[in-house]
């Protein structure tokens, strides 16, 4: 490192980087993180490009700005298949189902866009910076952004959108991410182009929550009227929602006033499908160009077929198998839960259901894709061991097995996973009955109140179940909602103060070492207690014809077409 660079870095550290930035630079200089990981973390904490550049040069790395040029053919309408159709009206802050979020995401934009490799890219925000302990974040907004109504986007619009998203009475589904993180009072306007987020608890990964990862966070005008999303175009995105027919489809045209320029596609036609096979047939038969989500076990026809390409990458999309720890049945004993987890041959399950498109899970929400995950060898990988499982069952007093019903939903490969688990636990004498409900029935009912504090919805009250979980760029929601004591989606009703402390420490931790330290604690506790089995984390895949260019399958499920073209 020559003197000039060292001097510039010292200057930058003092003036521009801030306390968190300095931690990141230390990590890079000490070799604790590589260049890619540094860039990712720099994007999270909103380090300015000049600081990034200096730091990279200082670390003797060559800096190359990541510019992805689309350069595709201009024109044409992309025909997209979405499965299943939205179950409700399209109202961004209430998005909970795949169909609705995909439909909304073609027209809508967020402050930050979650990009491949867990990176964050500026969208309607241009920069985001934390205070010293990541408990307050200042977000600068892009100027000259026009809503499709013609009005210019200002801080008022962003504040109004976020107040609705974090309001406990608006019916917002984004609360799963923002509860205990951000309250309506914490959102305020600094000036026309600056918004301040004052958090309830320090959250180092807050920019992820502001990104398209929280797919409900589509920025809408301050004077947006509930229920008008599909009748009046008023987003900022590259495409204008022209028409929407529930259960049938939606049409979008290019938005000529888009701040990003001129989208390659003339428009987008969405067709809804109830059934994966029907969508496949449509793609094979040339009726559509792209299916927003496909799955190895239901869409085998598209794999190993030279006419089609598979989009996608690693993510943390997964299934959870929570086991109630508080009911008067054998699952109350952690040895029984461990035994069940030990019967699963995970690599075989992954190859059966996903071919190569999934990672093996280790009964913690730390997917291998997360840089903060510890995993083997520090936390051992759980492997199939039927003998040990039998010993645990005997020790727990259930050497002769028992009978219990697993409740789950008809979604993707879940019915098959249920049958695999059913068969696996038979080896240790457990007679597992299956009750496979429609997704609607599985998630029906209330989630608050008596009898157990989790209402009466099957998915939070059945003794053992399988639930689908979407990808998140950081594991925070998996921790706070599914595993912390009294988490809103804690289907196992698990409660362990030591785990809660480790999770809280993790969420507030800024340096990667601190994050890994807390992650290791939490992973070890979870492996011991086994309230939830995480059998695998699978890749979010989309399938399309070879003509589709410049598309990537966002593991969160948003359909981002601004830079997509046909040929």
């Amino acid at each position: 490192m020559d003197r000039e660079i060292r001097r510039r870095l010292t200057d930058d550290r003092r003036t521009l980087a801030g306390p968190i930035g300095n931690i990141l630079i230390d990590e890079l200089l000490d070799g604790r993180v590589d260049r890619r990981e540094f860039l990712r973390r720099a994007s999270v904490f909103g380090l300015s490009t000049s600081v990034i550049g200096t730091a990279l040069v200082a670390a003797a790395c060559s800096s190359s700005p990541s510019s992805s040029s689309s350069g595709g053919k201009v024109g044409g309408r992309l025909r997209v298949g979405i499965i299943p159709p939205p179950a409700h009206d399209i109202e961004p802050h209430t998005f909970a189902d795949q169909g609705a979020l995909e439909t909304g995401s073609i027209a809508g934009e967020h402050l930050i866009r979650a990009a491949p490799g867990l990176k964050l890219v500026a969208e309607l925000a241009t920069s985001w910076n934390p205070n010293g302990d990541a408990s307050a974040w200042t977000v600068k907004l892009r100027q000259n952004v026009k809503f499709q109504t013609g009005q210019v986007m200002t801080a008022d619009d962003v504040v109004a959108t976020y107040k609705r998203l974090v309001s406990p009475t608006s019916g917002s589904q984004a609360l799963s991410a923002f509860k205990h993180v951000l309250s309506p009072d914490g959102v305020s306007k600094v000036d026309d182009n600056t918004v301040m987020f004052q958090l309830d608890n320090p959250t180092a990964s807050f920019p992820y929550l502001l990104s398209s990862t929280t797919y409900q966070g589509i920025i809408l005008p301050a004077n947006y009227l509930l229920g008008t999303f599909t009748s009046k175009p008023q987003t900022t995105g590259a495409f204008v929602l022209k028409s929407y027919t529930p259960g049938v489809g939606a049409k979008y045209d290019r938005y000529t006033g888009w701040w990003g320029g001129h989208a390659a596609l003339d428009g987008v036609d969405v067709n809804y499908y109830q059934d994966a096979a029907a969508a496949d047939a449509a793609l094979l038969g040339g009726t559509i160009d792209l299916i927003a989500q496909i799955n190895v076990s239901t869409d085998r026809a598209l794999f190993n077929n030279s006419k089609f390409q598979i989009f996608g990458g690693r993510g943390a999309t997964h299934r959870e198998v929570p086991m109630r720890v508080d009911l008067d049945n054998p699952l109350k004993d952690k040895r029984v839960r461990q035994a069940i987890a030990l019967t699963l041959d995970r690599p075989a399950i992954v190859s059966t259901l996903f071919n190569k498109f999934a990672d093996v899970g280790n009964d913690t929400p730390w997917a291998p894709v997360y840089p903060s995950s510890v995993g083997p060898p520090d936390v051992p990988q759980r492997q199939q061991d039927v003998n040990k499982a039998k010993q645990l069952m005997a020790a727990a007093g259930f050497g002769n097995g028992f009978s219990i019903t697993l409740t789950t939903e008809m979604t993707g490969e879940i019915p098959q996973l249920a049958q695999i688990i059913q068969r696996s636990v038979k080896a240790i004498g457990i007679d597992l009955k299956l009750s496979v409900l429609t997704s609607t029935a599985y998630f029906a009912g209330s989630q608050t109140g008596p009898p157990s504090g989790y209402g009466d919805t099957p998915w939070l009250n059945a003794p053992i179940n399988i639930t689908d979980w979407g990808h998140r760029s950081v594991p925070n929601v998996f921790l706070t909602a599914a595993l912390e004591s009294n988490g809103v989606w804690n289907a196992a009703h698990y409660s362990n103060p030591q785990f809660d402390a480790a999770a809280k420490g993790f969420i507030g931790a800024i340096s990667i070492d601190d994050q890994r330290k807390y992650a290791k604690q939490a992973e070890t506790i979870l492996l011991e207690d086994t309230p939830v089995i995480f059998p695998y984390f699978y890749n979010y895949l989309a399938g399309g014809t070879q003509a589709v260019k410049g598309y990537y399958a966002d593991p969160q499920g948003t359909v981002f077409l601004s830079h997509t073209s046909l040929g």
């Binding site: 159709p85 179950a87 409700h88 009206d89 209430t94 909970a96 406990p168 009475t169 019916g171 917002s172 589904q173 609360l175 229920g227 027919t245 529930p246 259960g247 049938v248 067709n271 499908y273 109830q274 059934d275 096979a277 029907a278 969508a279 047939a281 449509a282 094979l284 038969g285 009726t287 429609t438 609607t440 998630f443 029906a444 009912g445 209330s446 989630q447 608050t448 109140g449 209402g455 919805t457 809103v488």
Partner: protein
């Protein structure tokens, strides 16, 4: 009267959908206070007979209400779906009626011989194939392997009639497979009855040739049971094609009702089922009229 009973049945069935409509609309995180308020606003906390009366009152004013899940008028969604269903049914009829009547009459004329056996057995076997199997096979063979026909039933918007029919051919063929056996059997029985009847014998005695006898007397007679079968299948054809519509991704009324049941969208469900019932009753009415026009004997029976 039947309509009244039908409306009670439909209403009762939709009451089975469990409980909390307000909860269903507002989502799991809403407070129980808000849920109660919405239930009150929707009027679903009132006694059932009051709700029923209210529903009938609105129906009488041609008001089908708002879809609970999609927040748009039910009629705006059911209307196009009903038209789609009628289109599909029409295509299926145009295919199956001539085919099965010719088959049935032919079998009757060759009664006991090979053609009769072949036609009867084919009809019986086709009827035995569940519709989801025949639909899957048709998609696979004609859509994907031979690439002759589109595999989705919905044609692009603003397509001309010929294109629309082309898109409806595959699902129409699936229905043909279901219905051919029935109608051909009925046509065969009707023809045999007519052939054995006195007036046919008289016609022959009068010196008319076979072709004239068949076209004047026998054919008309074989049409009668066919009309009856079609009328009784109308409810199924308009509202019962859940599986076929799903496999061909067709926005028919069966699909609408099915998703309404899944989503517990009870306003949509009630109206959808009632519309199907209405279509069925209308069809039976038309069938009755046609029947008496074609068959003078019925009039005497009715007058008795």
């Amino acid at each position: 009267m039947t309509l009244f009973v039908l409306s009670i049945l439909v209403f009762a069935a939709s009451q089975l959908l469990p409980g909390d409509i307000g909860r269903n609309v507002l989502g799991p995180f809403a407070s129980s206070h808000d849920v109660q308020a919405l239930n009150h606003e929707l009027g679903v906390d009132r006694p059932i007979y009051v709700q029923y009366g209210d529903w009938i009152w609105r129906l009488a004013h041609a008001n089908l209400g708002m879809s609970l899940e999609y927040k748009v008028p039910v009629a705006s969604l059911l209307g196009p779906s009903l038209i789609n269903s009628l289109k599909l049914a029409t295509v299926a009829f145009l295919l199956v009626v001539p085919l099965s009547i010719i088959g049935g009459v032919f079998a009757a004329l060759r009664r006991g011989h090979l053609p009769d056996r072949v036609i009867t057995l084919t009809g019986l076997s086709l009827t035995a194939v569940p519709e989801f199997i025949s639909a899957i096979m048709l998609i696979l063979i004609f859509g994907l392997l031979l690439n002759w026909l589109p595999v989705t039933a919905a044609s692009p918007p603003e397509s001309d009639v010929i294109t629309q029919v082309k898109y409806l051919l595959l699902p129409g063929m699936a229905l043909v497979m279901v219905l051919f056996g029935y109608i051909a059997r009925m046509a065969r029985a009707g023809t045999i009855e007519a052939l054995d009847s006195d007036y046919t014998r008289t016609a022959y005695l009068k010196g008319l040739d076979t072709r004239t006898v068949i076209s004047r007397h026998v054919l008309r007679n074989s049409l009668l049971p066919t009309i009856a079968v079609i009328a009784t299948q109308m409810g199924y054809l308009i509202g019962g094609l859940v599986v076929i519509e799903k496999l061909f991704n067709y926005n028919g009324i069966g699909q609408r009702i099915y998703t309404a049941a899944l989503n517990k969208d009870f306003t949509m469900l009630q109206s959808g089922v009632l519309v199907v019932g209405l279509v069925y009753l209308t069809a039976t009415l038309i069938a009755d009229v046609l029947y008496s026009l074609l068959n003078p004997r019925i009039r005497y029976a009715a007058a008795e």
